[in-house]
Amino acid sequence: MSSVTYDHVVKRYTSDLTVVKDFNVEIADKEFMVLVGPSGCGKSTALRMLAGLETITEGQIRIGDRVVNHVAAKDRDIAMVFQSYALYPHMSVFDNMAFPLQMKKMSRSEIDKRVKQASGILGLDNFLKRKPKALSGGQRQRVALGRAIVRNPKVFLLDEPLSNLDAKLRGQTRVELQKLHRDLETTFIYVTHDQVEAMTMGDRIAIMNAGILQQVGAPGEIYDHPANLFVAGFIGTPTMNFVPVTMENGNAKASGFDVKLPKPVGADKGILGFRPEALTDRIQDDGSTLEIKVEVVERLGSDQFLYGTAGEDTITARVDPRMKVAPGDRARLGLDLRGIHLFDSQTEKALL
């Protein structure tokens, strides 16, 4: 059990290829931290530096109070679950889980006890004698987890552990992992490119893009107050509406509508953002309204999404499923002013 600190960490492969730039995060003891970002943004690299599989070009990584930059992977007291699971194919499930303990020269009875305990937690009791190739994807994934659990590490590192599972199993495993985190009371660092996993699992989320940390915070906080345009667009499905606007007497003017800004901003241009659920068929007295030309209607049972245009801008709205609307219609919708964001068009930072 331990905290983890990234202190101005840089990873450079060659002088002109820097894949992690000035990375600063403090992960608290027992926290479930999710590192999320698009493919190739450097999140695996950040994790692998902590694991000891990549050297740290600049800065410090600390586990607890100990600087681990030059500590061998095996001495960092961490366990890692790989995306590929990396099970030893010639060993039985039992031997796979026993391997790290054998390396620690643990006694046979202790190894036996720990493996049995982990297999009990993960429901692998009936598979201990099997080889990995005789297991399903989900079972393999659990063996990989088991191999990490038996070591009783200070920090768990997981690099996209669910991406090889089908959608249903992924949902179940997501829940199981959270339960596991609660039971083990250990720091988890979880890498994914899937924002749904990030939102549902993390105590906090760290969002990366192109090697740069964009924002760290609780899922709700990030959802409601994205720090910049990238975070706003990355989190949430369907994605947030973005509309270029110009400011005139406290109003944001788009090509097809005006919005009254809740407070003045010191810019005359910007990008207005609002999530589809802020644009509904409920028209509030103090809210703005805007009319869209509906092009596509998506009925999902609990929701109805309208895709259309207002002026020259594409707009997505989330309306009551009972609202009668067809492609080609014009629909007047209400915009909830509590849900609007404004971003600087140059720096892309949040202005509101």
Binding site: K74, I78, Y85, A86, P132
Partner: protein
């Protein structure tokens, strides 16, 4: 699944007697005919040799081996008896083993260690050394006979003093480039995740080698052992140069070659002797064959 893929995995979804169905069947038939004819082409001389080895000396000289297949059957074990008694077959067989087994195990062992280093360890000049090694594959071994022999003689490494050590060393040298090349390529193809996972689990270099790399490479190592064993067992040239024809040290190949010389028309004996010599590689091959388990890596990492 495309039709091509279906054909490859041998599953047919095409309707019976449709053109595609016929083409698929024909493809199968052509393949079978090709395989069978190749096998027959290879088997006929061997079968002839085998039958001849059971025929009388006079019969061999008078008629082709296939005539023996019709009655009256006139087979004999005389050739085998004579070979085993008259020439020093027993001693040669023993010598062959004494040469072949160490000359197989030494290079394969060294090659496994070296290949691991080339595949998974970082050291300066690694790629250049590997390239030089691959270059050695192209050097004809005849080129090395005189210089190596000179060195051996000058340091006293000759059969009279050291027995087979010289020829073991020579075979090790000749076998290493190919062995290292083959194993390094195989090791390199193992998923890197396994090595990283083992590293985190606390396994050192030697543990990784013995507990992960070796068990996963059994098929490659088994094929290499077979290659090297067969090549040394059937080798005449190297044995002749480094060991010579003295009865006490000559391996089977050398003794066999002498059989025709010394007995002139000893064709009947040669057939029997050749069969005795072939028996050993056959046993080696059949007993190692079960290690060629396909898909030994299955279930480790999902690709």
């Amino acid at each position: 699944m495309t039709a091509e893929a279906a054909a490859r995995v041998g599953v047919s979804h095409t309707a019976r007697f449709s053109p595609a169905w016929v083409a698929e069947r024909l493809q199968g038939a052509v393949l079978h005919v090709a395989v069978i004819s190749l096998t027959v082409a290879w088997m006929v001389p061997a079968a002839g040799l085998l039958i001849s080895s059971f025929r009388h000396f006079t019969d061999i000289n008078q008629s082709g081996w296939w005539t023996a297949l019709a009655p009256p059957y006139n087979f004999t074990l005389e050739n085998y008896v004579q070979v085993l008694q008259s020439s020093n077959m027993g001693q040669s067989l023993f010598n062959s083993f004494m040469i072949t087994i160490p000359a197989t195990l030494i290079p394969v062992t060294i090659a496994a260690f070296a290949a691991y280093a080339f595949a998974w360890m970082k050291f300066p000049g690694r790629d250049w050394i590997f390239l030089a090694l691959v270059g050695l594959l192209a050097v004809p071994l005849q080129l090395s006979f005189i210089p190596v022999l000179k060195v051996f003689v000058s340091i006293g490494l000759v059969v009279q003093n050291w027995g087979f050590v010289g020829v073991w060393l020579a075979h090790t040298g000749y076998g290493l480039p190919f062995s290292i090349y083959l194993l390094a390529n195989f090791f390199r193809a193992l998923p890197s995740d396994l090595f990283e996972s083992a590293e985190i689990d606390g396994a050192g270099t030697l543990t990784v080698f013995f507990r992960i790399v070796l068990p996963l490479s059994v098929p490659a190592i088994a094929s290499l052992v077979i290659f090297q064993f067969l090549w040394i067992w059937n080798d005449l040239l190297v044995a002749l140069i480094y060991v010579g024809g003295t009865k006490s040290v000559a391996p089977l190949t050398v003794t066999l070659a002498n059989l025709t010389n010394s007995l002139g028309q000893g064709y009947n004996l040669l057939t029997a002797a050749a069969f005795i010599s072939m028996l050993v590689p056959l046993i080696v091959f059949l007993s190692l064959q079960r290690y060629f388990v396909r898909g030994i890596l299955a279930g480790s990492v999902k690709g």
